[in-house]
Amino acid sequence: MALEIRHISRTFTGSRSETLRDISLTIEDGEFICIVGPSGCGKSTLLNIIAGLDTASDGELFLNGNPITGPGSDRVVMFQEHALYPWLNVMDNVKFGMKLAGLPKEEQAARAEHYLKMVQLWDFRHYKIHEISGGMKQRTALARALCLDSPVLLMDEPFSALDKQTTNKLRSDLEHIWEETRKTILFVTHSVEEAVFLADRIVVLSDNPGCVRDVFPVDLPRPRQIDSEDFLKVRHQILSCVEREVQKFAKEEYDRG
């Protein structure tokens, strides 16, 4: 039991509507969890609360039994945008978190080399951030996160701003890296296909207020073929669950208007 989410709710002051209501989830060590749901359902809010960047109005969070009270390097976040620092080159960006933690220089260099090679960016280590492509930026951000050796990795639609080919490549790269490092990954996405490709379990959030609509275990063997019959069957099952939510929401909007 790595990460425990107990009855989390989040209400924003100023609007009476709740973004999240009574979310409870237990995530095991080394599990790959994907969170999907209609846009605006609070997926990112949930991730931010786990990251400690936002606080829940109600409920508790525990990482390995310790309550989560703020951001920390035991739960590194990868954002939708790369969040790299343009005044540093690829190498120094990757070392950034380790420098904050005060790791010895040799250790920093060794880890940076290891993870830059893992994301296939070793040859680009001296490049400036504006000189590399969008996919390479996200790989740099991934290497930076991996270097901190945090037990939990939180990913907020990290590939959604990239083109299809790059996304596909990064997905399978991520799967390899996850198999190699066995981190607990919480991955928010709006793509059901992405979720079925990556996840051990898929959490579907419903909209307004966001609560756990359903949790689907995905038992397909890895690496998964996105055009195999089994894959499509699971994808369809989850898609229809998500779409019911979208339609429910659209109907409510319509009735209200």
């Binding site: 400690g52 620092y85 343009p86 950034f96």
Partner: protein, 261 residues
């Protein structure tokens, strides 16, 4: 191709100013010698201005005045950067001071610096420190507002990312906020420099015994409108030169390093 274009643009620029000077000289000649509209000493003319510049250069007044003015500007502006940065950090870091002190600084900054001259003379007399005071008070708050604005416009994502990597408050400022705010700060400093330079001229016109502002007033005292114009041109030139050589240059380098130009 790119290079050719810039040369063509420069040439175009040069031709425009040559034409402007020729027209100026023509109007002067026509108005004073042919139409008799103005007395020759009432209007500056390009040849007269060049003559004045030559005279000021030969006697050494030009270089001495420029050196004095630059020295004052430099000392005053450095003081402004020091004080202004501290104040700027205060209004950037504290919501309380941002709500209460920032409007006051904005208000004082909107006061033309020449308005501080009487105050400065009352405090310091007709003295170097009076001029420095006017320079410092004329540009410090602009520096503060520049640093505050630069810090407030740092992308929140940079800060979020650092916090999730475990950055402490101090590390957040040193490793993220300062480097991220640097280009914006430099852009703001450019404006502060022009405030400092203008404030210096206000001070020198009123109370100096040497300097460009003083030479300007000396030209008025001997009713030499060509000298007045010559000094005005020098003041413009020095202001622009410092901006180009120091601030724009630095800003451009940093933006280029980050791939922003």
């Amino acid at each position: 191709m790119q290079k050719k274009n810039t040369i063509a643009a420069k040439l175009n620029n040069l031709l425009f100013y040559i034409a402007l000077i020729l027209i100026w000289q023509g109007v002067y000649y026509w108005g004073t010698a042919i139409a008799g509209l103005w007395k020759p000493y009432a209007l500056p003319n390009p040849l007269g201005v060049v003559e004045s510049l030559k005279k000021l250069a030969v006697t050494g007044v030009l270089f001495q005045a420029t050196a004095y003015s630059l020295r004052r500007a430099l000392i005053g502006f450095l003081l402004s950067i020091l004080i202004g940065t501290v104040l700027g950090l205060v209004i950037a870091a504290s919501d309380y001071f941002n709500r209460n002190l920032k409007p006051l600084l904005t208000g004082i900054q909107s006061l033309p610096s020449v308005c501080w001259v009487p105050f400065a003379i009352l405090w310091f007399g007709l003295d170097e420190s009076a001029i420095l005071f006017v320079v410092v008070i004329g540009s410090t708050f602009s520096v503060s507002l520049a640093i505050e604005n630069a810090i407030r416009t740092v992308p929140p994502l940079y800060i979020k990312a650092a916090r999730t990597m475990g950055a402490s408050h101090l590390q957040l400022y040193r490793d993220v906020i300062f480097p991220a705010a640097l280009p914006g700060f430099l852009a703001g400093l450019k404006q502060s420099w022009s405030f400092a330079w203008r404030a210096l001229m206000s001070g020198e016109v009123m109370s100096a015994y040497v300097g460009l502002g003083y030479t300007l007033m000396a030209g008025r005292d001997i009713a030499d409108i060509n000298q007045v114009t010559a000094v005005m041109l020098i003041i413009i030139l020095v202001g622009i030169l410092i901006d180009r050589l120091v601030f724009s240059n630095l800003e451009h380098r940093i933006l280029k390093q980050r791939g922003l130009v």
